[in-house]
Symmetry: C2
Subunit: 558 residues, 2 copies
C-alpha cells in the first residue's frame, strides 16, 4: 500500500488478510555493516505494527502519523454506546490505558513535550462504542463472550467498536500498543484500521499455588501481564499435595492444617480480589480442586478423607488418594463443592483427576472388599471413574460445568456434553485430541506448553511453532478444540522467578491462540516480541530478555 | 559429642574433621508420616549448622544455646587486634552483619522480644581480633590474601580471630549464619568452635555486561550475594561484540559509539564504586577486555582497530578480529591497557583470547602478505599468538599479571609463569587441566559451571558434584589449580532474571570451592542450601527456590 493511499482506500480493504511485515535479521547476530533487507514499498521499515502482540487478525496502517497530546487526549464513551460513565469496568480500563500510554511522560520532570514544528494532525480522542444492548460492565467474562473489536484511528477522533466490554478491553490494549513515543518525547500513532477477534476462545495461564505459595501481588501482576497478551483464563491450580492455601469458609481446618503456615493462605477476601482484578481485565478465574490424587494436604485438616495405605495386614500410617468407598467422603465433597461453586463465579470448575496412584487403594482390604461388592474386579481405573463420576454429578447439581485432565476421559467416566477435557501428556497429544474431539467432547491443549520445563536459548520459538489444529479429525472435531493453556507448575517457581520465567515465553502461546493460523514467521515474531517485551518492562512486568540487546526506553533514560 | 561435654572438650577437638550432619529426606517427597531418621546422639536433629553455607572446614557445636539481645549485643574490636575503630572496612562489616542478624526484628512494630523465662546465658559481644601486624583495612584483597579465621562462641563473649580482615569478613558471615531466630522472636546461637579456611584461593563469578547491560544496582546486589557465599572474585566480562559499556578516560569514543546508548555506560565513578563495594566484602574485581576476537563493539569508536574483511579482491564492508598487522593497533592497546592497569587495582587483568575466527584474517590480502613476511606460513593460530604475545608483553610492562582463556595456552603463546589459564571448554576439561598444570601454569576451572545453560530441575546437584581435582597429574600439578568460576553469560540474562538465575545455583559452586573435598552429601547439602536460600531472601537476594516448600521467616510473617 502506498503512503499516499487515503483512508477511503484503507477502509475499503479486506480486513482478514494478516499484515505482511518486513522481515529483519537479528540486530546483534548479523555483521555490523550488513545492509538492511529491502523494505516493502507500501510500508515504512519500522512501522507501527513493529510491536503489536498478539498480531491482530486484520490490520491496515497508513504512513500518516497523528500526534497525541497527553494533556489533552481523552478516552471517552462514544455516542450510541450502551456503556457510559457508570460502566466502572471501562472507566477503570480508560484510566489504566491512559497511564500505560502517557504515565512515564507525565512523571518526567520536564513533563511532555508540547507540539513542536511537526506537521502531524492531532488525535484528540478515542471513543469507545459498545454495540450490544447489554455491555456486560458488571458481569463476568465467560466462554461465549465476544472479544471482537474494530478500531479506526483517524484524526481527530479514533473509534473503537465492540459488541461487549470484553472486546473493548482487547481493543484498548491494541490501541495502546499502536501509540509510541519518539526520541523527542512526542506521542505518535499511525492512521490505522484494525478488525480483530481471537482464533480460540479459551486462552489460559495455569499458576500453581501449592508447590510454592504465591503472594497476592504476584498473582495480580501476572493478571496484568495476561491482559497485555490477551489471555482470558487464569487456571488457578490452587491446592495440591504440598499445601492447601485456599481458606474454606465451611472447612477452615483444611488450610489451618494443610497450608504451609497461617501466612500462606488465600482468605475469602484475597480470592474475591483476584476474581475482581481478573474480571476488570476480561479474565476468567477457573479454580482447580484436583481429586482424588494430589490431595495429601487435604488429609491434614479433614479426618478420614484419604485412603489409609496398608503394609501387609496393618495400616502403614501413610495415606493415599481420597477414599472413594466412604459415604462421608461424598458428604464432604458435596458441601465443599457447594462452597466452591458459589465462591467462584465462573461457569466451570476444574476437577483435576490426573495421576492417580492405585498402589494405596490396592493395599487396603476395605477397598478390595468394596471392589468385589461393586463388581469392579481388579480394575482400579474403574474405581477412579466411580469416584470421579460421583464428583461430576455433585458439581453438575450446582449448575456448574467442569474441566478435567485427560485421564478422566481416558478412563471412560461418563461426562456431560459440555465437559472440557484438558490434554496435558506430551506424548501423542495430537492423537489424544483426535480421540477426545472424536468422542464429541470439547478440548483444551496444554501438552506442548509446560513452561516450567526450561532449556537454554529461545524456547519461545518452539512454543510459537505449535499448530494446535494439527491433529486428524473432521471440521466439526477441529471446532471442538477451543483453546489452550500455558502451564507454569510450581515445583521450581515462586515469587522470586515467576514473572521472568513466564514472560515473554507465554507470549508465544498468547499469539498462537489469538492470531490467525498463518501468522508463523519467526523473524517477524522475534522483532515484535522483543518490542512487546520492552513494553511489558515499561509497564512493570519483569519479563526476561528474548535475546541480546536493550530497550529503546532505557536509551531514553526512562 | 554429648551435650554435656564442656567447652574444654570442644576446644580440645581436632578441627579439621568436617561436620557430619544428620541426613533427612526431602520435606515434600516423602510420605507425610514416615518416621524421621534417627539423629546422631551428639547433635540435635535440627542443629545450628542446618543453614551453614558453605560448610566450614572444622566445626564443633554443643547443644548449649546462648541468647543474644539485639539491644545490647555488640560487634567490637578485641584486645590485641591490629585493627580498631579506624578500620572502615571492619566498621562497615560490623554494621552490615548487625543488620543481617537483627534488622528484621528491629523493624517489627513490637521490637525484639525481651528475655523471657528462658535459662540460656547471654552472649553480649563478638570481639574481632586481627593478628597480622598489617590488618589490610585499606588494601585490596589479592590472590595471596589469608581468608582463614577461627571463631569461638562461648558466653559471655565470642571471639573471631583472623590474620587479616579478609578472614574476619568470612568469619562474620559464618557467625551471622549461626545466629537464628526462634518462633518466639528470641535470637539464639549454639556454643561453637569453628576453624575455617578456603580450599581454593580463587572463587569467582563471571558477569557479562555486554550482551545485556546490567544496572549498577544489579552488580552490587550480586556482590552482596557473593559475600554470603564466600566468593572472592568478580570476573567482570565488561565488553564484547555486542556493546562496549566501559567508559574509557583516554578513549571515550569507545563507549560513545560502542555502548548500546549513553544510558548503558559504566562511568569511571561507577567502576570505582563497584571496586570499592567489592573490596569492602573481600572481593577482587578482575576486568576482562577480551581481544582479538569478541571485539565488534570496539570497532565502532576506534578507527582501523579491526581487520577489514575481503570479499574476493574488495573489502566486504564488514570487520573481523583486531588487526594484528598494524603498529597503530599496538599503540592503541598500549595506551588502553595502561589506563586499565591503573583503573583496576587488582594484580590481574583478564585478556580473553577465546574463539578467534580466522576467516576474516584469511580473506585480507595485507594480512596474507604479513604472514609471508613473518614466516608464519598459513598457520593463523600463530598470527593469533603473535598478537596475543604483544598484548601480554604490554600488560606485563605495567606490572600486571594476566588471565587468559584456554585457547591462548593451546595456541602456544609464550606465557609468564604467573599466568592464570581459565579452562572453559566442557569437552575433556580434565585433560586440559592436566596439560595446563603439566606445563607448569596456574589454572582456573570454569567449564562445568556455565550457569547460563539452564535445564529443568535441581541442576545445582550437577554443579555440586564436580570434583575439580579429578584430573591426572602430580601433587604439584593439583596445587596449580587455584580455583574456579561460575559463569553467567549474558545472552539471555539481564536485570530481570539475573539474581534468581544465578542464586542459589552458584551457591553449589561456592561450597565446592570453599569446603573440604569430602563435603559431598547431597541430602545434607539440600537441607542446608534450602535454609541458606531462605536467608539470602531475607537479606534481599531474590534467590529462586531449590524445590517445593516455603521459608520459615515467611511463616513468622517476616
Amino acid at each position: 500500500m502506498s503512503r499516499a493511499m487515503g483512508l477511503a482506500g484503507l477502509l475499503a480493504g479486506l480486513f482478514l488478510v494478516p499484515a505482511v511485515l518486513v522481515s529483519t535479521s537479528f540486530r546483534h547476530d548479523a555483521p555490523r555493516t550488513e545492509p538492511a533487507p529491502e523494505p516493502a514499498e507500501w510500508e515504512p521499515p519500522s512501522g507501527p505494527e513493529d510491536s503489536l502482540w498478539p498480531l491482530p487478525q486484520g490490520l491496515r496502517t497508513s504512513g500518516r502519523q497523528l500526534q497525541l497530546a497527553p494533556g489533552r487526549f481523552q478516552l471517552v464513551h462514544g455516542a450510541g454506546s450502551s456503556a457510559g460513565p457508570r460502566c466502572g469496568l471501562l472507566q477503570d480500563a480508560f484510566r489504566r490505558y491512559y497511564e500505560y500510554m502517557f504515565g512515564q511522560s507525565l512523571r518526567r520532570s520536564w513533563g511532555y513535550r508540547p507540539f513542536g514544528p511537526r506537521a502531524e494532525a492531532e488525535l484528540s480522542h478515542l471513543q469507545v462504542v459498545i454495540e450490544s444492548r447489554d455491555p456486560g460492565c458488571d458481569s463476568h467474562p465467560h466462554l461465549g463472550s465476544s472479544e471482537a473489536y474494530q478500531l479506526t484511528v483517524i484524526a481527530p477522533v479514533a473509534t473503537l467498536k465492540a459488541d461487549e466490554v470484553w472486546g473493548a478491553l482487547r481493543g484498548l490494549e491494541t490501541f495502546s500498543q499502536l501509540v509510541h513515543e519518539d526520541d523527542y518525547g512526542s506521542f505518535l500513532v499511525n492512521e490505522s484500521e484494525i478488525y480483530d477477534f481471537p482464533r480460540f476462545a479459551h486462552r489460559g495461564i495455569l499458576l500453581d499455588t501449592s508447590r510454592h505459595y504465591l503472594p497476592l501481588k504476584s498473582i495480580l501482576t501476572n493478571l496484568d501481564a495476561m491482559a497485555f497478551n490477551k489471555f482470558n483464563v487464569l487456571h488457578w491450580h490452587i491446592v495440591d499435595d504440598q499445601s492447601f492455601p485456599y481458606q474454606s469458609i465451611c472447612f477452615p481446618e483444611l488450610s489451618d492444617k494443610g497450608a504451609y503456615s497461617y501466612n500462606h493462605i488465600y482468605t475469602p477476601t484475597d480470592v474475591r480480589l483476584v476474581i475482581e482484578y481478573a474480571r476488570l481485565r476480561g479474565i476468567r478465574v477457573i479454580p482447580e480442586f484436583d481429586t482424588p490424587g494430589h490431595t495429601q494436604s487435604w488429609g491434614k485438616g479433614q479426618k478420614d478423607l484419604l485412603t489409609p495405605c496398608y503394609n501387609g495386614e496393618k495400616p502403614s500410617g501413610s495415606f493415599g488418594p481420597v477414599n472413594p468407598i466412604l459415604n462421608t467422603t461424598y458428604d464432604f465433597m458435596t458441601k465443599f463443592f457447594k462452597e466452591i461453586s458459589s465462591v467462584f463465579p465462573d461457569a466451570y470448575i476444574h476437577l483435576g483427576g490426573d495421576e492417580v496412584d492405585f498402589n494405596c487403594w490396592k493395599s487396603n482390604p476395605e477397598v478390595q472388599e468394596f471392589m468385589k461388592k461393586q463388581g469392579l474386579g481388579s480394575d482400579y481405573a474403574k474405581l477412579e471413574s466411580y469416584y470421579i463420576q460421583k464428583i461430576l454429578d455433585i458439581v453438575s447439581s450446582y449448575n456448574k460445568g467442569y474441566m478435567v485432565w485427560q485421564e478422566v476421559f481416558d478412563n471412560k467416566a461418563k461426562l456431560k456434553p459440555d465437559t472440557v477435557v484438558e490434554v496435558w501428556m506430551e506424548r501423542n497429544y495430537a492423537y489424544e485430541l483426535s480421540n477426545v474431539t472424536g468422542a464429541g467432547f470439547t478440548a483444551i491443549l496444554a501438552a506442548p506448553w509446560y513452561l516450567d520445563y526450561i532449556s537454554y536459548g529461545q524456547d519461545w520459538r518452539k512454543y510459537y511453532s505449535v499448530e494446535p489444529l494439527n491433529f486428524s479429525g473432521s471440521e466439526k472435531q477441529k471446532k471442538l478444540l477451543i483453546g489452550g493453556e500455558a502451564c507454569l507448575w510450581g515445583e521450581f517457581v515462586d515469587a522470586t522467578n515467576l514473572t521472568p520465567r513466564l514472560w515473554p515465553r507465554a507470549s508465544a502461546v498468547g499469539e498462537r491462540l489469538w492470531s490467525s493460523r498463518n501468522v508463523t514467521n519467526l523473524q517477524d515474531a522475534y522483532r515484535r516480541l522483543t518490542n512487546h517485551r520492552c513494553r511489558m518492562l515499561r509497564r512493570g512486568i519483569a519479563a526476561e530478555p528474548v535475546f541480546v540487546g536493550y530497550c529503546a526506553h532505557e536509551a531514553r533514560g526512562q
